[in-house]
């Protein structure tokens, strides 16, 4: 459903994306992870036909993003990064207008709008002006619009950034509902646990290049050991860590008690947890950015 082949985008002398290649089947959720400036939004902008690539090609829903842009726009929907619904409209008006612009008949647009607002628990505020609503509620209004659109492929560029824990979960529910409806979803996020929970495939980007692609579980398995010991201490740690980020030392181990004990004895504040996708990202980004000491 999404095929990206050698995709590149250059701004001046800088390659924001360079030879990015991955593919995702239909009905899946793919999360694109990476630090700020990794190229996530540039990738989304190319895939939604807003930005021309400098090199390579990409297909979404079997359509070329450059040659078949007009036909492709009928099959995709997007929530842009830092996007917000129009403040003087009500949530119902915004979603309804968006559906009319997508070509739905008026009655169908209204029915779908109400249904989507219901599913995102926005019924009570559906007739209030959007500018009076909280940031999280505004974000859910955006989600309601694309949820109601019933697009084949949905692009969500950091849809949960800045949301509280409850609002984030409501967004997760909307994403799950879209996937259950058969949509393919490409999601960019800084929240690794969100990507781990929601995604079938994770694409890890750094400095415009693909660092790794795979199911979250497979990527987690690439982290050595079963546990992570994370310690903070101002001085030199007694055991060389796998990754050091400032005074924070990270160890990937099978038996955490022994390492933790030595660190505690040296005066460190220590935490132990099972390894997760976040640890894989730290591992890869740590090495990529030269943050490792070991």
């Amino acid at each position: 459903m999404i095929v990206v082949d050698g995709l590149g985008k250059r701004f001046g002398d800088i390659w924001a994306l360079d030879s990015v290649t991955f593919s995702v089947d239909g009905g899946r959720v793919v999360s694109v992870l990476g630090p700020n400036g990794a190229g996530k939004t540039t990738l989304v902008r190319i895939l939604i036909t807003e930005l021309l690539p400098t090199k390579g090609r990409a297909e979404v829903a079997g359509l070329d993003v450059v040659k078949d842009a007009e036909r492709l726009r009928e099959r995709i929907a997007a929530v842009p990064q830092e996007g917000s619904p129009i403040g003087f409209l009500t949530p119902l008006e915004f979603v309804y207008a968006y559906l009319l612009l997508r070509g739905y008949p008026r009655r169908e647009a209204r029915r779908r709008a109400l249904e989507a607002l219901d599913s995102l628990e926005l019924r009570e505020v559906k007739d209030r002006e959007i500018q009076t609503l909280s940031g999280g509620t505004k974000r859910r209004v955006m989600l309601a619009a694309v949820l109601a659109a019933d697009a084949d492929v949905v692009f969500l560029d950091e849809p949960t950034t800045g949301l509280d824990v409850i609002s984030r979960r409501m967004v997760w529910n909307a994403i799950s509902a879209m996937r259950d409806g058969g949509a393919t979803i490409l999601l960019t996020t800084h929240y690794v646990e969100e990507a781990q929970m929601l995604s079938d495939v994770v694409v890890l980007l750094n400095r415009g290049k693909v660092v790794d692609v795979g199911p979250p579980g497979a990527l987690v398995e690439k982290v050595p050991g079963r546990y992570v010991v994370e310690a903070y201490m101002p001085g030199e740690p007694p055991i060389p860590p796998h990754i050091a980020i400032g005074g924070r030392a990270i160890y990937f181990v099978d038996k955490p008690e022994e390492v933790a004990g030595k660190l505690v004895d040296a005066g460190a504040r220590v935490g132990i947890r099972p390894k997760s996708l976040e640890d894989y990202v730290i591992l890869k980004m740590g090495y990529e950015q030269g943050g490792e000491d070991s």
């Binding site: 902008r45 939604i48 036909t49 807003e50 930005l51 021309l52 842009a69 007009e70 726009r73 009928e74 995709i76 929907a77 997007a78 929530v79 842009p80 990064q81 830092e82 996007g83 917000s84 619904p85 129009i86 403040g87 003087f88 409209l89 008006e93 915004f94 207008a97 968006y98 009319l100 612009l101 997508r102 070509g103 002006e129 955006m142 619009a145 659109a149 692009f155």
Partner: protein
């Protein structure tokens, strides 16, 4: 759905959401649109009496149309840079030309009540003839297309929101005071200077059509030709720049 019908529908939907809804929801927009030409009307009425009122009403018609077309800069830039509504529509079956014309329609909706007031007042003063009304309406339509096209094209060049609020004020002031909108082109060293800007062309046409001023046949013909050319070029420009894709 037929492509032309879809385009027309999209224009109406955008006109509704960006023009009608805010207008009925908050009259402050209407007042904000009407206040400047109304102020000039009052000043002209005080200093020039009944004739000043006629000049103030004709100038107000032209100023309102031109400033609303130009004010599209603010909306288009806000939707593109600030809330990313344009990006949401890029990933949807909405044509960029329908989007631009929809925004232009919404600016016209804001202007409509003020225009209706001026037109009704002019009718009350007895300056309308059947031919005069048609000529004035045609000139205002061309002026609307010209300024809306320029407004959208300029909006695509703006990369910081604060300029989107400043630029329309400057353009509106230039278009309404540097051209014979509230005054006759006869005060200029050469009347031909009066048809350099589209507002001046509309001014020359409407002042003649409503009997406020008399200009030569050549100048009048030039005003029509240049105003039509401005509108055509602005629409062509709009079609060219109103593309979703960025390089």
């Amino acid at each position: 759905m037929n492509k032309a019908v879809k385009t027309l529908r999209d224009i109406l939907v955008i006109g509704w959401l960006n023009g009608w809804v805010p207008l009925v929801r908050s009259w402050v927009w209407l007042v904000a649109n009407a206040v400047t030409p109304l102020s000039l009307l009052v000043v002209l009425a005080i200093y020039a009496g009944p004739l000043g009122i006629k000049w103030g009403l004709v100038g107000g018609l032209i100023w309102t149309i031109a400033s609303n077309g130009i004010s599209l800069i603010g909306d288009a830039t806000f939707y593109r840079l600030e809330i990313k509504f344009q990006q949401m529509l890029v990933a949807a079956p909405v044509s960029p030309v329908a989007y631009a014309l929809g925004l232009a329609l919404s600016s016209f909706i804001f202007a409509a009540p003020t225009l209706a007031f001026y037109a009704a007042y002019l009718a009350y003063l007895g300056v309308f003839t059947a031919v005069g009304v048609l000529e004035a309406a045609a000139a205002l339509l061309l002026l609307w297309l010209a300024t809306a096209g320029v407004g959208f094209a300029v909006s695509t060049l703006i990369n910081q929101m604060r300029y989107a609020w400043a630029v329309p004020g400057i353009l509106s002031a230039v278009l309404s005071t540097m051209a014979p909108v509230y005054w006759p082109a006869t005060v200029l060293p050469s009347q031909w200077l009066g048809v350099v800007l589209p507002t001046g062309e509309a001014g020359v046409i409407i002042q003649t059509a409503l009997g406020l001023a008399r200009y030569g046949e050549g100048l009048l013909a030039a005003a029509w030709a240049l105003l039509a050319a401005y509108a055509a070029v602005a629409l062509a420009l709009l079609a060219k720049v109103a593309r979703w894709r960025q390089v």
